[in-house]
C-alpha cells in the first residue's frame, strides 16, 4: 500500500507521517508536493501537521487553495481514505471535507502533552483494530485545536457515529482538566459522513514506537492497512 503525504509550505509533520507507514507497517510512503496535481498513485492521502503558510489568515485557510488540494478532494469524493492530522484537520475543515472548525485553544496557549483518548467508534476504516471505548494515549501539539460546530452539526456527528475520538480522563490527567483545548463535547477526531476522511488533532504518527513513550497510534495505521488493502 502507498501512503501519499502532502508537503505544504510550512508543513512540519510531513516527515513523521512519511516515516510512520515505513517504520510501523513496512509499507511505502511518498511525499506529494503542494504545487503538483499528482497523487502518484497513493492509496491513502495524509494531510500532515505543521503550520502551512505560517497559519497566516487562519490555520489551513490558505493551504486549501494549493493545487494538490483539487486532487485530494477528488480522491476523497471517490471514497479514497484521507487522514488529516492536526494542521491537516484544520485544512480539511477549511476545504469542506469535514464539518466544523478548529479554534484557538481555550487556554490561549500551545499545548504539547501525551493525552488520553477514548475510541468512540471502532467501526471505521481507521479504527477497526481498536476496541470500542478503548483508552489510548497519543501526543497532542497544537495551539488551535478547539473543535467547534453548531449544535445541529454536533448532534448529527454524534448520531451518525462520526465522533471517532474523544478526550477522556485517565491517570495522566488526574489532577487537571482532561480536555486540553476546550473542544466542544470533548471531540478530538471525527470522520466524514462517508467514513473515508478522518480529521484529528492528536498525532497518531508520533505514537507508533514504544521507545517514544506510546505505540497506541499503531493500530490506526494497521486498521487502514487491513481495511484498505482488503
Amino acid at each position: 500500500m502507498k501512503f501519499g503525504i502532502v508537503t505544504f509550505p510550512g508543513s512540519n509533520g510531513d516527515y513523521d507521517a512519511y516515516r510512520a507507514p515505513i517504520d510501523a507497517l513496512a509499507e511505502e510512503s511518498v511525499y506529494l508536493w503542494h504545487k503538483d496535481h499528482d497523487l502518484q498513485g497513493a492509496d491513502v492521502v495524509i494531510l500532515p501537521g505543521g503550520f502551512s503558510y505560517g497559519d497566516y489568515l487562519r490555520p489551513g485557510a490558505i493551504a486549501r487553495f494549493s493545487p494538490i488540494m483539487q486532487e485530494v478532494t477528488a480522491h476523497a469524493r471517490r471514497g479514497g481514505p484521507v487522514l488529516a492530522i492536526c494542521n491537516g484537520f484544520q485544512i480539511a475543515c477549511e476545504a469542506g471535507l469535514l464539518p466544523g472548525a478548529l479554534q484557538r485553544n481555550a487556554s490561549l496557549k500551545f499545548v504539547c502533552a501525551p493525552i488520553a483518548l477514548r475510541v468512540e467508534n471502532a467501526d471505521t476504516i481507521f479504527t477497526s483494530r481498536y476496541d470500542a471505548r478503548q483508552l489510548i494515549t497519543v501526543p497532542i501539539a497544537h495551539g488551535d485545536g478547539r473543535y467547534s460546530a453548531d449544535e445541529e452539526t454536533l448532534d448529527r456527528l454524534e448520531g451518525e457515529g462520526q465522533v471517532v475520538f474523544r478526550y477522556a480522563p485517565d491517570r495522566l490527567q488526574a489532577a487537571e482538566a482532561y480536555n486540553p483545548n476546550g473542544s466542544m463535547r470533548d471531540i478530538a477526531g471525527i470522520v466524514s459522513t462517508e467514513g473515508n476522511v478522518l480529521g484529528m488533532m492528536p498525532h497518531p504518527e508520533r505514537a507508533v514506537d514504544p521507545v517514544l513513550g506510546s505505540a497506541d497510534g499503531l493500530a490506526l495505521f494497521e486498521s487502514i492497512l487491513q481495511r484498505v488493502a482488503a
Binding site: P9, Y53, D55, Y56, V111, C112, L212
Partner: protein, 766 residues
C-alpha cells in the same frame, strides 16, 4: 579604487564615532588601517564588526585557552557551529547563542529571533536541526514585570520552534533577583548530518557569485550587534526598534531550501546573516577564505525604497542567508529558492584583489584592505580584581545562620524548596513547546537530560544545558567547574557518555575589574573541567554587558553538553519505577551548605563557598554510573543538585505525576552531619539510583572507587516519603509534595491575569 562619501552622509565627528561605540584608540586604528578618514558607511561597518558581540574583543584571549580537540571533533570553534562525529559516518552540529538584550526589552520577539538565529547557525553547516534547548534566567517571579518577561520569552521560543517544527527537548529556568531587569535567554540547537555533507562558511573561488537568499532586507534590527554590546539602562526601551522581528514560516522554507542547496553541489559556502547582517556574513566568509569580495548594495533585495548602503549592510532583518555559489550555477541556485517561494539575488562576487569592497552602483562607498577588517580588531585583557563583597560573602560560615523556628520540621523546609520556581516542575513552560515533532524524542523536557534517537541506528544523543550562577558568583572558578561537571553528570544519568560542549558566557561589563575577574576565572575553571572530563569546547557565544541599573547579573557560563548513548537499551529516566527496588546513593553527603538554594530561599542569603568539586571523583562517578547502566542494573538515575538530597529523593518519587511512588529512606549513617546540610546541602558528585540488584551496583561502585550506600527502598503504593535519620523519623505524603512541586509555577502565573499585574507590566514596558 577611490572611496567617496555619499551625498547626505553625516560628517565624521568625534561625537559620531562615540555614538558608534568605538573608542578613540579603536578609531585611530581604523584610520591607520585605511590611511584616511572613514566614510559613514565604513564607520558603520566597523562599529558592527568591532562590537563586542561580533569581535569577542574582551574574551578572545581567554577563549583561546580552552581545550578544543578530540579525535571525534570534526569542527571546533570559529565556524557557525561545532561538529562531532557519532559513528556510522554521522555527525552532530551544535551551538548555543544568547539573545539577552533583545529579550529584556521585547521578550517575545527577542526570544523568538534567538531561536531563529541558532537554527540557521546549525543548518548552514549542512545539518538538519533535530533538537532545541534553552537556558533561561529571570528575576523573582513575584514581580509582575518578571512574569511578563517570562511568559513572553516562553511564548516567543515556543511559537518559533513549534512553527519551524524542531522539538524543544530540554532546558533550564532559574529565577533569582540577580537577573532582575536583565534576563538571560540562551538557545541551543543540535543538528544531524552525514560527515561528507559538512559545509563550511569559507568564501573561495575568484569569480564565484555571492547571492543573498531568503527574506528581503528591511530597516529592522539596525545596530542590534552594538546594542547587545552595551549595558542595559532606563534608555534601553527606546532601542526596541533595534530588536529584530522573526518569521518562523520563512525560516522553515529557508531551512528546507538551504539544505537542498547544500546537497545540490551548486554552492561552496553559506552563512546566516545574523548579528551585523550582511556586513558580518560577507566579511567573515571572506576572512576565512582569505579572499577579496565586492558587494553592490543596489542589488540587495530590499523591503522598502531608498535604503542606504549603511542600512542595507547593518540591517538584522531575519531569515536571510548569504551564499557563495559556483560560477555558472546561478540559475540552479535561483531555481531551488523559487521552488520554496523565496527570493535570491546575485549581489556580489569573490575577487582576486585582497579587499573588502562595497559599491552602490558605480560609487565605491566602503573599502578595506584585505581581511584586516576582521583581523585588525583589537583585543583587550583589562584589569581583573575580585570584588571585596564577594570575598566577604564567601568567607561567611553558613552554619552560623540560625535556623528559623519553622525549620524544626524539616518537611516544612522541603515543601518550601519544592515551591521554589527554580526547583519546581517546569511543565508550565515545556508544555508550550512541541517536544514530540520529528519523532525522535526518547526523553523530553523534565528529565535529567534529553535523549534524542538517531534513526537508522540503535544510538541516541543526550543533551543538557547547565549552570548555577550563584556558585559562579561566589567562586567563579569552582562554579564553572561545577557547571561542566553537572552537565556531564546529567548526561550520564540518562545513559550518555559526555562528548563535547558548547558554552554561552553571560557576564557583566568586562571593563569592571570584578567582572573581568569573574570571566577570567570562570574560563579557567571551565578549561580544567573540560580537560578532566574529556569534553572539548567546540564553540559558543559570549554575551557581555549583562547589567541592569543595580549592577551585573550573576556570572553565568551556561554549558551545553552533548553525549552519546550507545544503545537505546541504556536510556535511563529519573523517576522511581518499581516497588521493592533498592535506592542507592552514589557519592557522599557532606556538611556543605554554601551557595545553596536553601540559604537563598529560606534565609535570603547568598553566602559561603560553593560546594567543593573533585573532578577526578566526578569522572569516576560517571564511569561507574555508565557501567552500572550498561550492565542493566539501573532502573532510574537522578543527580543531586539544587535543593540537595531531600529534594532529589522527592523528585524521584513524584516527577512522573501519573505514577507517584512512595519510598523508605534511612540516612542514619550521616546522622552526625547538621541535619539541614544533609537534607538540603548541595554537595557535588552525588546520584540517586534505583535498582533491583543493589549488590551489583555496590560492587561496580566499589571497583570504580566511588562510595555507594543503599539508603532505602521504593514503596510503590505507600503514598509516603518515610525518612529515618538516627532517632529522627520524618513522614510526608507524596501527594502533597507533588502538589507543591507541580503546581508552584502554574499558581504563580495565574496571577498574571489580574488587572493590576497587567497594568504594572505595561507601565514598566513603556
Amino acid at each position: 579604487m577611490t572611496v567617496t562619501a555619499r551625498p547626505g552622509d553625516p560628517t565624521i565627528t568625534p561625537a559620531l564615532v562615540a555614538e558608534h561605540g568605538l573608542t578613540t584608540d579603536e578609531y585611530d586604528r581604523l584610520v591607520a588601517m585605511l590611511g584616511r578618514t572613514p566614510t559613514f558607511t565604513e564607520l558603520g561597518i566597523v562599529s558592527a564588526l568591532w562590537s563586542e558581540h561580533c569581535s569577542y574583543k574582551h574574551s578572545r584571549p581567554l577563549l583561546k585557552t580552552l581545550p578544543t580537540k578530540a579525535p571525534y571533533v570534526l569542527q571546533g570553534p570559529g565556524e557557525n557551529a561545532g561538529v562531532i562525529a557519532i559513528g556510522d559516518g554521522l555527525a552532530v552540529a551544535f551551538k548555543i547563542e544568547s539573545h539577552n538584550h533583545p529579550s529584556a526589552v521585547e521578550p517575545y520577539q527577542g526570544a523568538a529571533t534567538g531561536v531563529g538565529g541558532i537554527l540557521r547557525d546549525v543548518f548552514t553547516m549542512g545539518a538538519r536541526p533535530i533538537a532545541l534547548l534553552n537556558s533561561l534566567r529571570f528575576g523573582s517571579l513575584d514581580s509582575a514585570r518578571v512574569r511578563y518577561l517570562f511568559a513572553g520569552v516562553v511564548k516567543g521560543i515556543g511559537d518559533y520552534g513549534n512553527c519551524v517544527g524542531i522539538p524543544t527537548v530540554a532546558g533550564e529556568v532559574v529565577f533569582d533577583p540577580a537577573y532582575e531587569g536583565n534576563p538571560l535567554v540562551n538557545a541551543m540547537c543540535v543538528g544531524l548530518l552525514k560527515e561528507e555533507e559538512l559545509m563550511r562558511a569559507v568564501a573561495e573561488g575568484v569569480g564565484n557569485p555571492i547571492i543573498a537568499v531568503g527574506a528581503r532586507t528591511g530597516r529592522d534590527g539596525i545596530h542590534g550587534a552594538s546594542f547587545a554590546s552595551e549595558d542595559l539602562s532606563e534608555a534601553s526601551d527606546a532601542k526596541r526598534p533595534r530588536v529584530q522581528v522573526g518569521d518562523p514560516f520563512t525560516e522553515k522554507l529557508l531551512l528546507e531550501a538551504s539544505l537542498e542547496l547544500i546537497r545540490s553541489g551548486h554552492i561552496v559556502a553559506i552563512q546566516d546573516m545574523g548579528a551585523a547582517g550582511l556586513t558580518s556574513s560577507s566579511a567573515e566568509m571572506a576572512a576565512r577564505g582569505d579572499v577579496g569580495v565586492v558587494i553592490d548594495t543596489l542589488k540587495v533585495p530590499a523591503r522598502e525604497e531608498g535604503m542606504t548602503p549603511y542600512e542595507l549592510l547593518l540591517s538584522e532583518s531575519q531569515e536571510r542567508m548569504l551564499v557563495v555559489a559556483k560560477a555558472g550555477h546561478e540559475e540552479e541556485v535561483v531555481g531551488i529558492l523559487q521552488k520554496w517561494d523565496l527570493t535570491a539575488a546575485v549581489i556580489g562576487e569573490v575577487i582576486a584583489e585582497p579587499v573588502y569592497r562595497v559599491v552602490e552602483g558605480d560609487r565605491v562607498v566602503a573599502e578595506f584592505p584585505g581581511i584586516r577588517l576582521v583581523t585588525d580588531c583589537p583585543t583587550y585583557e583589562p584589569e581583573a580584581r575580585e570584588s571585596a563583597d564577594v570575598k566577604s560573602r564567601r568567607a561567611r560560615d553558613p552554619h552560623a545562620i540560625p535556623e528559623r523556628a519553622e525549620e524544626a520540621d524539616p518537611l516544612w523546609t522541603l515543601e518550601r524548596l519544592l515551591l521554589s520556581p527554580t526547583i519546581a516542575s517546569k511543565r508550565w513552560v515545556y508544555q508550550q513547546y512541541d517536544h514530540t515533532v520529528r519523532t525522535g524524542t526518547v526523553i523530553g523536557p523534565g528529565g535529567d537530560a534529553a535523549v534524542v534517537r538517531i534513526r537508522g541506528t540503535d544510538r541516541a544523543i543526550a543533551l543538557k544545558t547547565d549552570c548555577n550562577g550563584r556558585y559562579v558568583f561566589l567562586d567563579p572558578r569552582v562554579g564553572a567547574q561545577i557547571a561542566v561537571a553537572e552537565a556531564a553528570r546529567n548526561v550520564a544519568c540518562v545513559g550518555g557518555r559526555p562528548m563535547a560542549i558548547t558554552n554561552n558566557l553571560n557576564f557583566g561589563n568586562p571593563k569592571k575589574p570584578e567582572v573581568y575577574h569573574q570571566l577570567r576565572e570562570a574560563v579557567a575553571g571551565m578549561r580544567e573541567a573540560c580537560e578532566a572530563l574529556g569534553t572539548p569546547v567546540t564553540g559558543g557565544n559570549v554575551s557581555l554587558y549583562n547589567e541592569n541599573p543595580t549592577g551585573a547579573v550573576y556570572p553565568t557560563p551556561v554549558i551545553g553538553m552533548v553525549g552519546l548513548v550507545e544503545s537505546l537499551a541504556h536510556v535511563t529516566r529519573a523517576a522511581f519505577t518499581t516497588d521493592g527496588d533498592a535506592i542507592v546513593l552514589l557519592g557522599d553527603n557532606t556538611d556543605e551548605l554554601g551557595g545553596s538554594e536553601y540559604l537563598q530561599r529560606i534565609h535570603d542569603e547568598v553566602i559561603g563557598a560553593p560546594p567543593r568539586i573533585d573532578l577526578r571523583a566526578e569522572q569516576a562517578l560517571i564511569d561507574v554510573l555508565l557501567e552500572a547502566i550498561r550492565a542493566g542494573t539501573v532502573r532510574s538515575a537522578h543527580d543531586v543538585s539544587d535543593g540537595g538530597l531531600a529534594v532529589a529523593i522527592a523528585e524521584c518519587m513524584m516527577m512522573d505525576r501519573g505514577r507517584l511512588m512512595g519510598a523508605q529512606v534511612d540516612l542514619s549513617p550521616w546522622k552526625a552531619l547538621p541535619l539541614r546540610a544533609l537534607l538540603f546541602g548541595e554537595a557535588q558528585g552525588r546520584v540517586i539510583v534505583s535498582t533491583p540488584d543493589a549488590a551489583a551496583v555496590l560492587a561496580i561502585a566499589s571497583r570504580g572507587g566511588v562510595k555507594a550506600t543503599a539508603i532505602g527502598t521504593v514503596r510503590a503504593s505507600s503514598g509516603l516519603l518515610e525518612m529515618t535519620i538516627g532517632s529522627r523519623k520524618l513522614r510526608a505524603s507524596v501527594g502533597s509534595l507533588a502538589d507543591a512541586y507541580h503546581e508552584a509555577i502554574p499558581r504563580i502565573m495565574q496571577r498574571t491575569a489580574s488587572a493590576q499585574d497587567v497594568a504594572l507590566a505595561s507601565d514598566s514596558v513603556v
